[in-house]
């Protein structure tokens, strides 16, 4: 019976947490603040990131429209009406010249009375970069002549063709972006403010206030959007200046968009207002305004921003549709919708298909906003 094992004593100090030690990555993850989690989750969504980059490029470009565009918005080239897009070439007769375009001449086809443009193979017009082009007013503030790309001296550069008045489509697209891309932003700002305040009031107070606001929302939601937009924008006075009309349209777009947002805010608030932190704030004498704004809304702000992003596309499409019908923005203000009014009839599609080009940025922007918003929405809930 003497074969007892020796008593084992571990000399190392006892570590209570030994079993649940975190790897550095885990620690980093668990300790990260919420916004960083969102950022990571968004970053994992490669399509959304790509869409975000595209949108960022678009929005940065509208800051420097004047520099990027080869011509000014309204420069007319009467010699080149409905000129087709010119291709950029690099080699001329097997010899490298750098990017250049061939000059074009037109002749009138006496049978169809159609202008036909033929590139002149002998006339090489090299593009100039970082050059002095047509003078412009930068944001209407100061004069400048510096442009990213200009046609050769005495030459032309219509990369996307020209329209009915011989205006360069590419330049007009770039100028139109300024209007088309901001319409959605201003509209969503209007709708955001309205939606949050009205939905907040409905959700926080409940009862009669809520019931009435709910009915109003139901009514607004049951009206078909476009006819209502049409009716309201037909009501904008004709005497308004184009800039006023622009703001009028954005406000109309925003005015009819808030019900969806208000609904989301309301349903969240109905649940949150029963929470203890809300009661505590109320007992300490905070005003409803403060409770809604400081204590309740931040809980789901990220969700709201994500869903707002998702409703920008419908505004951009709405503006395009209204302008296309001639009820929206009016020349000389140029938006993608205004440009598309030129492509209203079937001849345009058949004879001058490049007039339909403004469709591309519209589609790209709308798609990008959709993907971007989807990514944001997933990221807004990083713990799921």
């Amino acid at each position: 019976m003497n074969e007892r094992l020796p008593h084992f004593v571990d000399t190392a100090p006892f570590d209570v947490y030994a079993t649940e030690r975190l790897t550095p990555e885990q620690e980093r993850y668990y300790l990260a603040p919420q916004w960083r989690l969102m950022w990571w989750k968004f970053g994992a969504h490669s399509v959304a990131v790509a869409a975000g980059v595209v949108l960022a490029l678009f929005y940065v470009s509208i800051l420097f429209t004047e520099i990027l565009a080869p011509y000014s918005r309204d420069t007319k080239h009467t010699e080149f009406v409905y000129a087709p897009p010119q291709g950029i070439h690099l080699f001329h007769e097997g010899r490298f010249v750098g990017p250049f375009v061939y000059g074009v001449r037109y002749h009138l086809d006496m049978e169809t009375l159609k202008r036909e443009y033929v590139p002149h193979r002998s006339e090489v017009q090299p593009l100039r970069f970082f050059c002095r082009g047509e003078p412009y007013q930068f944001w209407g503030l100061f004069e400048g002549r510096f442009r990213l790309v200009c046609p050769a001296e005495g030459g032309q550069l219509f990369l996307l063709g020209t329209d009915r008045l011989g205006r360069d489509m590419l330049s007009r697209l770039l100028y139109g972006a300024r209007v088309s891309l901001t319409v959605g932003l201003i509209g969503i700002a209007v709708s955001f403010v309205l939606g949050i305040s009205i939905g907040g009031v409905a959700g926080y107070f409940g009862g009669w206030t809520d019931a009435i606001i709910q009915r109003i929302i139901e009514i607004l939601k049951s009206l078909p959007e476009l006819p209502l937009w049409m009716a309201l924008s037909a009501a904008l006075p004709v005497s308004w200046s184009p800039i006023l009309v622009y703001f009028g349209i954005t406000i109309i777009l925003g005015l009819l968009d808030w019900p969806g947002l208000a609904r989301a805010v309301r349903s969240k608030l109905l649940a949150l207002r029963e929470e203890d932190f809300c009661t505590a704030a109320r007992l300490m004498g905070a005003s409803p305004r403060r409770i809604i704004g400081r204590h309740l809304l931040p809980n789901f702000m990220s969700h709201l921003i994500a869903s707002a992003t998702l409703s920008i596309p419908s505004m951009i499409l709405g503006e395009t549709a209204l302008s296309f019908l001639g009820l929206g923005l009016r020349p000389p203000v140029t938006s993608w919708g205004v440009m598309l009014t030129e492509a209203q009839n079937i001849e345009a599609v058949a004879l001058y298909p490049w007039l339909l080009l403004p469709m591309l940025p519209v589609i790209i922007t709308v798609l990008a906003f959709n993907f971007f918003g989807d990514g944001l929405r997933d990221a807004a809930d990083p713990y799921s």
């Binding site: 409940g206 809520d210 009915r215 139901e218 009514i219 939601k221 049951s222 009206l223 078909p224 959007e225 476009l226 006819p227 209502l228 049409m230 009716a231 309201l232 037909a234 009501a235 006075p237 109905l270 596309p313 499409l317 395009t320 549709a321 296309f324 019908l325 009820l327 598309l340 492509a343 209203q344 079937i346 345009a348 599609v349 058949a350 339909l356 469709m359 519209v362 589609i363 709308v366 798609l367 959709n370």
Partner: protein, 332 residues
């Protein structure tokens, strides 16, 4: 159920009353009235208009009365089936609208059927094969449909329809049938022309529907009863159709309410571009010339269509899902 129906019907009536006021205010919003437009037009043609005649016309049309009274007259007429008088066409609105209403309803109805027919199989497929190439491709296609402005799609399709099939451009029927009474040949001609606008208007609604059906079905497919069913050895198709699909069908019914306004909107703009004989182009013209009863009655009709569609979808939902009608009160 009866209580639910009555309650829902009351809200619908109230909604319609408020909408009628809203519509009336909106069409009154532009400064001036139809007579100002008319006078301006006459003067631009070099005609002199005697003040006396203007006053007479204004009195005749009731434009000199206060707005509330005008509203009362309009609504009173509506209740009696009298849609008012179109200044521009010099005819009662009902006579102007006539045929067009039928075509509008037909167009919207066909579009909704199209959306269901397309969205249903695609939605089920996307959910069943989540993250497959087919899913990604179809979802992207749907999004593309959502992102393309309706009217441009209309233009391009019209062009293609003409080039490929020789369908006459921009109408809803062959020219010889316009303003003719309905016949089989006319109906066939309409059916032949219907697909372009239906396709165009349908594309934007389809994407949203696919998304919702897919999301719903995915939620259902993760539930335990599906696992149980699979463990018991139910065939895959039967397992899908019998339980989860039924549950995921709710959005199809519930969405009539959301779908109708967007389809109606879409049909207005597409009809304008394609100059279909529906109410869309007329509404545009009426709004621009301030032909107030014509525009008002149109807007009212469109709103009525949507409100009624929503009512229908609510009732159907209540029939399908007892939780909804019982929970009507205690939802908050």
């Amino acid at each position: 159920m009866l209580g639910f129906l009555v309650r829902r019907l009351m809200t619908m009536l109230l909604t319609l009353v408020v909408i009628s006021m809203l519509v009336f205010v909106i069409i009154q919003l532009p400064p001036g009235d139809y007579l100002t437009t008319l006078i301006a037009e006459l003067q631009s043609q070099g005609e002199q208009v005697a003040q006396q005649k203007i006053d007479f016309l204004r009195h005749q049309y009731g434009l000199d009365r206060p707005m509330v009274e005008q509203y009362a007259i309009w609504v009173w007429g509506l209740l009696h089936g009298d849609l008012g008088y179109s200044f521009e066409y010099n005819k009662p609105v009902a006579a102007v609208v006539g045929d067009r209403l039928l075509l509008t309803v037909l167009l919207n109805f066909a579009t909704i059927l199209f959306i269901y027919a397309v969205a249903f199989p695609i939605g089920v497929y996307s959910a069943k094969r989540q993250y497959s190439w087919g899913d990604h491709g179809l979802t992207f296609l749907g999004l593309l449909g959502l992102a393309t402005p309706n009217f441009l799609l209309a233009l391009i399709l019209m062009y293609l329809a003409n080039v490929l099939f020789g369908t006459s451009i921009g109408t809803m029927m062959d020219p010889q049938f316009i303003d003719k009474p309905w016949s089989l040949a006319k109906a066939a001609s309409v059916a032949e022309h219907l697909w372009v606008p239906v396709l165009v208007i349908g594309t934007s609604g389809t994407a949203g529907m696919i998304r919702r059906l897919r999301a719903n079905l995915l939620d259902e497919l993760q539930k335990q009863y599906v696992v149980t069913g699979r463990a018991k050895g139910l065939p895959s198709l039967r397992l899908l159709v019998k339980y989860p699909l039924r549950m995921a069908l709710n959005p199809f019914v519930a969405d009539i309410g959301n779908l109708l306004p967007s389809v109606v909107s879409g049909s207005v703009i597409v009809s304008t571009v394609m100059s279909l004989q529906t109410t869309g182009p007329m509404l545009l013209a009426a709004l621009q010339s301030q032909d107030m009863y014509l525009a008002g009655s149109f807007l009212m009709f469109l709103a009525m269509l949507t409100v009624f569609g929503m009512f229908l979808s609510d009732v159907l939902l209540a029939v399908l899902d007892p939780r909804i009608r019982l929970g009507g009160r205690a939802r908050r």
